[in-house]
């Protein structure tokens, strides 16, 4: 469903991804690992269409269609979701207002009638229970004053409500205590089915104890330098990235 070919991405004139290749098929979980500054977040931003990143080479195909001409919201309507490493705080907009606007925007694209406030409130309550979020979060302003863990849970809630086909989760595990991490992992595992896929960007192997990836890729200096199965993550945990860095420079 996602096909990335020879992708070069730059920001402020600097190449951050330099010829990245990746294919994600339905039903798969891919984990992208790598040291700081390797380009992991850049990959997530490029897929979701952050205007401050420029695609200067290669392409990203989504269900066969090039993403480069599509606005971030158009990508969302077509089934892409990105969980942010640092979710933003938006004062003055309540969680429910925001989520119903987002959900109805997608329904509009799909040619479905918008949900009424009542219908949406019902749906949201159900999803919030699944994500173990307290009811009060419905009417709180979007991420405003949320703790790090609450923000990340809220990302998973948004994913659950918007029901995308591919979820790109950018370090959703960072800064989480073990309970919150379990909630996030449960959310991801519940989400996955044979026609959905997940791209997990993570720093640590820890999350992969709860979410079992089909593939692990190591990203260094803007390229995938090594790919393997879930055992690669364990390998990285004990050996670090140095042996791969050396491999690159050789």
């Amino acid at each position: 469903m996602l096909e990335i070919k020879n992708l070069v991405v730059s920001k402020e004139g600097k190449n951050l991804l330099q010829g990245l290749n990746l294919t994600v098929l339905p039903g798969e979980i891919h984990a992208i690992m790598g040291p700081n500054g390797a380009g992991k977040s850049t990959l997530a931003k490029a897929i979701s269409g952050d205007p401050s990143y420029q695609i200067t080479g290669g392409e990203v195909l989504w269900k066969g269609e090039s993403l480069s001409e599509l606005e971030p919201e158009e990508r969302a309507h077509r089934g892409l979701f990105m969980g942010f490493q640092y979710p933003l705080e938006i004062p003055g907009i309540t969680n429910i207002q925001f989520l119903s606007a987002a959900s109805n925007a997608k329904r509009k694209f799909l040619g479905l009638p918008p949900l009424t406030e009542e219908e949406f409130a019902g749906l949201l309550e159900e999803k919030m229970n699944l994500c173990q979020m307290k009811k009060e979060f419905i009417s709180r302003n979007l991420n405003e004053g949320f703790s790090g863990g609450e923000k990340k849970k809220n990302e998973i809630l948004q994913m659950t409500v918007l029901d995308p086909d591919l979820a790109v989760l950018d370090e959703t595990d960072s800064g989480l205590d073990i309970d919150a991490m379990k909630v996030v992992a449960q959310g991801v595992n519940r989400f996955l089915s044979e026609d959905k896929a997940v791209l997990l960007i993570t720093h640590y192997q820890r999350l992969l104890d709860y979410i079992e990836p089909d593939f692990v890729h190591v990203l260094i200096n803007g390229r995938i330098v090594h790919s393997g199965g879930k055992e690669l993550a364990l390998d990285l945990e004990t050996r670090g990235y140095d042996w791969l860095t050396t491999k690159v420079s050789v």
Binding site: E71, A76, G92, A105
Partner: protein, 478 residues
């Protein structure tokens, strides 16, 4: 979508001017000019005296320089102080107005002909210096409500004008109020008799058309005991590359238990967004006196235009238990500058005031809140609550807050809260990745920020004002 795009490109859709034959007096200001204006308007002697007194006072005064504004030098002798569309005969109704003018107002979204007018809103339209007429005259007459141009009021209700004009904003209050008192050409007059609730919203639409003409309108609203009125003004002007001066004075008087709600949606031409050339210089003095017990005056303003805004609508809370409110959204972008806020003067016992100010600054603009809260020695048990929030868009703009608080009695209570936030590309991107289009995302963030003010506006205007703000910011964020 395509419509949205074109709107985004047309920076200021009210920037056109109307070709119409005007009758103007020569530019410049002397005692003769004032006599000429007074004579053209067939004014009674007391008004000529009022004007001349103001003119003499003005000569001794200096332009205020304390505001956080860079004001270009204004040559008061280069301004034309009276200009009016040539009228061949006296009009009986608005439908006889020059079709060119009717088309102008239609383009502005203020249709004034009989079939298309706004429902439930009576409109008085002022073009350059002169009122063109009022809609819904009959409905108002039946209720006993007076809404007319101040010129008409001078003719018909001379005693009321003589009694109240200049009593809330004295002639010598400030440089611009003195100038206005000397040369004002038209404006609106509203009178709500005892016990009457105005059945419809009252409104005045101000349009500056001429390039060299200053607009000096004068508004007076009197609400007798137990009456209620909601009044709204809207303003636009063509895009010229020179500045035009707008110096208005608004006075409100509320008697026992009366309530006046005064709303403004100001969208004067703000000058070229790139160069800062041109635009309206908006120097306005607005003040209300809550004269009666438990009376209430509420100011709501959406200030989205003008190159420079200098404006502090205030309330004198004289009657015991009277209430003053100020709700403001001031948006500046391009090279705009705004120094705006309010004055709440607590004189009576148990008086209350609320100030909610939302400043949004974008591009290279400067946005200042300046407010004064005074609790007099007799204002025991009085309270004020002030909330000032600023939102910055981009990093070349600035926002300032100058709250002045003077409390002269121990039982007064003054609260002040302030916050500053930023609307960023990242926030918009975040909302977009959830499927919300950029324009809608701007709209959402803005309406969240301004909601306490917007809900004070009459509904149909709140929707318009909301759109206006979002439209102004689309350039700045994108």
């Amino acid at each position: 979508m395509t419509e949205q795009k074109t709107l985004m490109k047309s920076e200021y859709k009210y920037g056109f001017s109307t070709e119409i034959e005007m009758e103007s007096i020569p530019k410049g200001l002397t005692e003769e000019t004032i006599r000429l204006i007074s004579q053209k308007k067939h004014e009674p002697f007391f008004l000529l005296e009022f004007r001349l007194k103001a003119y003499r006072k003005w000569l001794t005064m200096k332009e205020p320089d304390w505001a956080n504004l860079k004001i270009p030098p204004i040559d008061f002798q280069e301004i034309c102080y009276y200009s009016a569309p040539k009228v061949k005969q006296k009009l009986d109704s608005l439908d006889q107005v020059d079709p060119e003018l009717l088309r102008t107002f239609e383009k502005l979204g203020v249709p004034i002909d009989e079939q298309k007018r706004l429902t439930n809103v009576a409109v008085d339209v002022v073009f350059d210096s002169v009122s063109l007429g009022t809609t819904f005259k009959k409905t108002l007459e039946d209720a006993g409500v007076v809404l007319c141009s101040i010129s008409e009021a001078i003719e018909k209700y001379g005693d009321l004008i003589e009694k109240y004009l200049g009593t809330v904003v004295p002639i010598g209050d400030n440089f611009f109020s003195a100038l206005n008192s000397a040369v004002f050409s038209d404006g609106s007059f509203v009178y709500i008799p005892k016990g009457v609730r105005s059945p419809i919203e009252l409104s005045t639409y101000f349009r500056i058309n001429d390039k060299k003409t200053g607009q000096f309108e004068r508004t007076l609203i009197i609400a007798e005991e137990d009456s209620y009125v909601s009044y709204l003004e809207g303003c636009t002007a063509p895009a010229y590359d020179t500045n035009q001066l707008h110096a208005a004075v608004v006075e409100l008087v509320a008697f026992d238990r009366a309530e006046i709600k005064y709303s403004t949606v100001q969208n004067w031409y703000a000058g070229d967004p790139e160069t800062g050339k041109g635009g309206i210089l908006n120097f306005v003095t607005k003040r209300g006196r809550c004269q009666g017990v438990s009376s209430k005056i509420s100011w709501t303003q959406v200030e989205a235009g003008a190159a420079i805004t200098w404006k502090y609508p205030g309330c004198i809370l004289q009657g015991d238990g009277s209430i003053g409110e100020f709700y403001s959204v001031a948006l500046t972008n391009g090279h705009m500058q705004a120094d705006t806020g309010t004055k709440m003067i607590h004189l009576g016992k148990n008086t209350r005031s609320t100030i909610i100010s939302k400043g949004i600054s974008a591009d290279k603009s400067h946005n200042t809140y300046r407010g004064l809260v005074t609790m007099g020695t007799k204002a025991s048990g009085s309270r004020n609550y002030t909330q000032c929030d600023s939102m910055l868009v981009g990093d070349l703009c600035s926002a300032n807050t100058f709250p002045y608080i003077e409390v002269a009695n121990a039982t007064g209570c003054v609260e002040h809260e302030a916050s500053t936030s930023k609307m960023s590309e990242e926030q918009l991107f975040y909302l977009q990745t959830r499927g919300i289009a950029k324009e809608d995302a701007i709209h959402m963030i803005l309406s969240g920020f301004c909601k306490e003010v917007m809900r004070e506006l009459p509904l149909e205007f709140a929707v318009e004002a909301q759109k206006l703000l979002a439209l102004k910011l689309e350039h700045s964020v994108g």
